[in-house]
Subunit: 330 residues, 2 copies
Amino acid sequence: MYECLLHETTFTRLEERLKPFSEQLAPVTVNDDLEIGHPWGETKDGALISYGNTDVWFSPAAKAFAKYLHSAGRLAWFQSSAAGLENPFLQKIGDKAEAYTSSHVQSEAIAEWVLWAGFDWFGNGAGRRAAQAEKDWRSVSFREIQATRWLIYGFGHIGEAVGRRLRGLGAHVTGVRRSGHVSPFADRIIHPQNFEPDNLGQSDAVLLCCPHTPETENLADADFFTAMKEDSLFMNVGRGALVDETALIAALEARRPAHATLDVTREEPLPEDSPLWRHPHLTLTPHTSAMTEDALKRNDELFLENLVLFLNGEPLRNLVEDSAFAAQSV
Amino acid sequence: MYECLLHETTFTRLEERLKPFSEQLAPVTVNDDLEIGHPWGETKDGALISYGNTDVWFSPAAKAFAKYLHSAGRLAWFQSSAAGLENPFLQKIGDKAEAYTSSHVQSEAIAEWVLWAGFDWFGNGAGRRAAQAEKDWRSVSFREIQATRWLIYGFGHIGEAVGRRLRGLGAHVTGVRRSGHVSPFADRIIHPQNFEPDNLGQSDAVLLCCPHTPETENLADADFFTAMKEDSLFMNVGRGALVDETALIAALEARRPAHATLDVTREEPLPEDSPLWRHPHLTLTPHTSAMTEDALKRNDELFLENLVLFLNGEPLRNLVEDSAFAAQSV
């Protein structure tokens, strides 16, 4: 018998599909009023398993959920809805969990966020909205994505999901990744060691979607921005620590890049007094580039699939090696 | 010898490429100060040919350009940068011109406009901008285009350019067209006669990109909108007369569709007192969905290609039959 910790919203959504396992599972729920529930009764023996997703992390329940997790005698398996591992909170879960599985299903949602950011910049969304607000039937020109060149730094699941869409739209895609392996979703792959300012200078859009490691800390610094092209767009869906935010603000004043669209910041939630909130050349979303119902559902499917494997003692999908928490790379 | 009427901006851009034809052409330019120029000298004999593009139509020169066009003894050939024919202004040129050629190269730009509109609605751009304006690090969810179903009414050049992109992004595409011919860019094609409310009720996004004809006048009326799905997006890049704007405003109040994004309106420029300008559920662009540098360049290429054909007495590309001005269809 395993206790299975879930957000109450997740449990309600999955209850019917969990019933076949009622002999092996005792669900434990946390809701936004911080109430702990035992919808199928309590169990005293057995280890804990848990599925942590956006129902939890973007709710008041997050702390109570974590507290329950860490008070358990044994955490036999934790299914994360995220790909990233370097968050201290997830690191701590990773330390405790006997098995930790990650998820890459958010890549598709994140790729859609990137296209939204790209179309709004190249499509001159801001100019269009300004003309409408001024009731001005003026000519508002824009650029076609199909004529743009993109540099995607970090060409894993997210990078490939973005590259696949962009190439379908006719854009030119250069991916940077350590494996150096070619990809059907990039016109060109560069190894980080061969990455040079010219690669930035030729790109209309630059996207960071690599993990945060000692090598990628402050990857986008003053020199990086200086090497960028005029009228270019900078985007970050990786981690805030990839960007020197002071350098970014100076760079935006110089309009290289001309605009930045960020889903992550160095400090999250972003403090109210941060100049990033209201910078005229910066669009900001609160680490929600993966926040779709569709991603939530795909994660549910992954959890259920891994649940069957776990209960049968079979190898889990997306099992994260202990070492991966320590050493991460592009 | 032909006089060749162009906007001065167009002439400057193309001068080098026109030089090989200097024995046969006497360019006549109009600029935004309404000055008529004869950069290579005047000619007294010969008919007029002309290339009318967005350099002209979105500038103060439009009227002077048209006046010159209509005062010519013979208008031997007119190259339009647009696909549409029902504009009274173009109709009048069509009546006068011995040969009239249209252009479909704007389809690509218009398709990019449609994706911008789609990503901004499904990506919850308005919600994201509001959260940023309020400095609120709140969860802003959105929908993935790849999980949406689109209905494209009018599946010609523009419809196909949109459908191709959407299918590449994983969306489901239904096209409505009179030919009924299947298309690699649609999952399904419907003949207008078989079009029914259910087709609207199943669509997350509905795009009008058919011509304005007696059959399509007020195509999108109260019944049309009532049949639409909750949370759906309505778009029009065809002509304003396709839409009953009073019915649209009532429909937006009822949130069916939940949002409309229009590039065309019944009266253009839209009068300042129109309620469309400031409706909270409506995004409006001033008939500029084709306004890209790339489309301008593609039109230049088409003009130059047709110029060679014209001077050699060969059949022109995109020649419009006289009858097409009168009878148009989806």
